[in-house]
Amino acid sequence: MNIHLDIFAFLALTIFALLILTYVLVIQVVVLRLIHGYQQKREQQFYAVWEENIFLFLEGDDNPQTLIKKIKRSKYLYLLHYLREFFLMLKGDDFQKLSAIVNKTKIQPFLISQLKSGSPKKINEAAYFLGLAKSAAARDILRKKLRSQNASVFLSSALALARLNDIDAVFDIFRNARRFKFVSKDSLLAIFSEFSDGICKPLLVNLKREKNILIQSISITLFRHFKFYNAGESVLKIMVYSQNKEVIIESIKFFSSIEFIEASTALRSLINHPKADVRTEVLKALAVLGNESFEQRIWDCMYDPEYEVQYNAVITLMKLIPGSEEKISQFAYGNLKDRAAAIARMVLSERNIRS
């Protein structure tokens, strides 16, 4: 009976606690919504008032300080959010004028103070807008933030430095990225692609002595992105000796994109690489870099065990060898039970529909 009473007391207490908790939670949801609604309303009011002013500023020759003087410090972020898409779209003189709104007004010290704060949320926000506006004044603080233990602070600082085109920070970014488990190659590429093509020269100098596979692979991808022809010879040397699939594939894609004919002999030896993705990439590149002397090797690839290789062999043959379509057609429809012929038939009929 005592146990029963104890449980009853426990339940009664629990009910009391749950009732209070439910009440608090419901109030919290409603308060959150009201706060959000209020903020949105203020934002809308701000836009309604300032939309015209901002467009007039962009069209005219006014001093940005005159415009910003009228805006309260508490509303700077509204303005920045409003300008976000413009920062991403505009170029040339328009961009300069837009960035002056941040760089030549009180907004810059405001953002820098946010950047110096201890809150990752504020730091990320400030770094984002300082990067968008290419605020050189934030460079040193951003470099210090690369050493942050917080991955999101590291990433937002690195992105801002990339947008500032701070090429001296490139290797600092690489070094610090290694500290984080979840900073992937693709995340780094997204950051590095924000630099100008000036990033290629230091990357090339570094590549000649670089042993780290991730840095090799990212450097080569960036050479492709910026079509940096001067890196051709060095990348070729790396590809020939590399055992890493990623590095080899990136190198092949790079040669193809800059039409680096000198790589065609090296590609010939990779046509029998044990990895199917490498063989596929070689075939795609040969469609650009190859010549008629490759024809037999490519025909052989149509009997590869992997479909991607077979499929690309047919496409490469059609692109590389003039008049090969008839020969492929004869092969495709003359060997009805052959898998290679079936793949050829598929490519031909797809091509037929697309044309």
Binding site: I15, L18, V30, P120, S156, S193, M346, I353
Partner: protein
């Protein structure tokens, strides 16, 4: 009499312990999900998704759409899907032996013509009759095959898909335009990711035109509103919470994305399976993660897909019974995972949780009600105690539901009007008075049917999005 009393008291104590355990787990999941959502929001806020892909380092995606008797909605769905924002994707529609005019509709609207084909992979599926390509939309492929069910149709689609990532969706799903950009992000951020799920939301009450959500709204029927709260609870704290342990055991079949190599490695979807969406994820954990523990199956909390919820008791009953059969099926098929330390958190925590609370939950709850009634009628439990216990259980349910509404409020706020929010809070209260007990009863019946051999899918009727 004393023995009966001790048995009943023992069972009641067991139920109380079970209740406290499940409450504690839910609280932990909620706390974990709360912090994860805050972190996720700060990460996603300043990410310029479209700029991330300017380096042509994106991974091509094949979107597989299994379709069976979808003549009413297939054209609208595909037109909407063809407008998804992604630089390189292929749409593979699998007509799974439809007996209506699905294929005819595709002929009429997409200028499809037959092409020669060879399956690239050898996943088991019913024979493919023909493959078509569209001359108007170069990225549209239609496969016409002998009927074999959803899993079979997806396997046929994978066999002909060319991209390294495979997204599987339901033909009647309404997708967010940037869903592919969002779902591919985990694959880009972490090379070990093999599967990603996204949050599914209820489309009833939304203003939908040509397969696009124009305005988010709440359904007029309370049955659908209860399901909105249920989905928020399942996705925002359930899956988010388990994701921290790399312990996602189910990704919704309405929208999921996989690495093709992972799908091929486990021989694709299992034919004849009732809950194929759960079974494939459990199998990925079992077959792939044991050898490669670093592999990840993850989840993004962004709402990426909207689906129609049943608005009649019959259809809802059929759906819940099927879901329960699917859960039981997947758990029994992979029972080797249970308390198996070789599988880490999955074996020692997540799988046992699913077995004890998701699979056996309805049975324990129904027996709990039964013993409670017995105790009450035999006078072992006083009225005040009975009322106190039931009140606690119901209030706890309310707290959990309101917490998920808070998570939604902190993150995506997809229901913009205050009246909608208040309706959701009301639904979070009311669903605990009858609706939850009813779904528990249906799940219990689902289990009974499973063990008595009735393992068919049941009929699932949908009204469709009229506009």
């Amino acid at each position: 009499m004393n023995i009966v009393k001790y048995i009943v008291f023992g069972f009641n104590s067991l139920i109380l312990f079970y209740f406290l355990l499940v409450c504690s787990i839910y609280i932990v999941l909620n706390i974990v999900a709360f912090f994860k959502m805050i972190k996720y929001n700060s990460t996603i806020k300043y990410l310029d998704l479209k700029r991330v892909f300017k380096l042509t380092n994106y991974k091509p995606i094949s979107v597989i759409v299994p379709a069976y008797n979808e003549e009413n909605g297939i054209v609208e769905s595909l037109k909407s899907l063809l407008q998804l924002e992604y630089p390189d994707f292929q749409l593979v529609v699998v007509n799974d032996g439809s007996t209506d005019n699905t294929l005819q509709k595709l002929f009429e609207n997409f200028s499809i013509r037959q092409v020669s084909f060879t399956p690239f992979y050898k996943l088991k599926s019913q024979p493919i009759r023909s493959v078509f390509m569209s001359s108007e939309y170069p990225n549209l492929i239609v496969i016409d095959k002998v009927n074999g069910g959803k899993a079979d149709a997806i396997n046929a689609g994978i066999n002909l898909a060319k991209s390294p990532l495979i997204t599987v969706i339901d033909a009647d799903s309404v997708l967010e335009r940037d869903c592919l950009l969002k779902i591919v992000r985990p694959f880009m951020e972490d090379e070990n990711v093999i599967a990603v799920g996204g949050t599914i939301r209820i489309a009833n009450g939304c203003n939908i035109l040509h397969g696009n959500i124009l305005e988010v709204g709440l359904a007029k029927s309370w049955l659908a509103r209860f399901q909105v709260v249920e989905y928020l609870r399942a996705f925002l704290f359930g899956r988010n919470g388990f994701d921290v342990l790399n312990g996602i055991l189910i990704i919704s079949g309405a929208f999921s994305c996989f690495s093709r190599d992972a799908l091929i490695a486990i021989d694709g979807y299992r034919e004849g399976c009732i809950g194929e969406d759960m079974e494939i994820i459990v199998r990925m954990h079992r077959k792939l993660r044991r050898e490669h523990p670093k592999l990840r199956i993850t989840f993004i909390p962004d709402p990426v897909c909207w689906t129609e919820a049943p608005e009649t008791f019959n259809v809802l009953r059929s759906q819940r019974m099927r879901w329960q059969k699917g859960t039981v099926d997947s758990i029994l098929l992979h029972k080797k995972l249970f308390m198996n330390p070789a599988y880490g958190w999955i074996g020692m925590l997540v799988f046992p949780y699913f077995a004890l609370f998701e699979m056996l939950g309805p049975v324990i709850e129904i027996f709990g009600y039964f013993f409670f009634l017995v105790s009450f009628s035999l006078g072992f439990v006083t009225v005040s105690f009975a009322v106190a216990f039931l009140t606690t259980a119901i209030l706890y349910g309310v707290v959990l539901s309101v917490l998920s509404v808070i998570l939604e409020e902190l993150s995506f706020q997809r229901y913009p009007k205050l009246s909608q929010l208040l309706t959701l809070i009301a639904a979070a209260f009311l669903e605990n008075f009858g609706y939850r007990q009813l779904t528990t009863w249906w799940r219990f019946r689902g289990m009974v049917e499973y063990f008595t051999g009735k393992r068919h899918w049941g009929k699932m009727e949908k009204k469709g999005f009229a506009k």
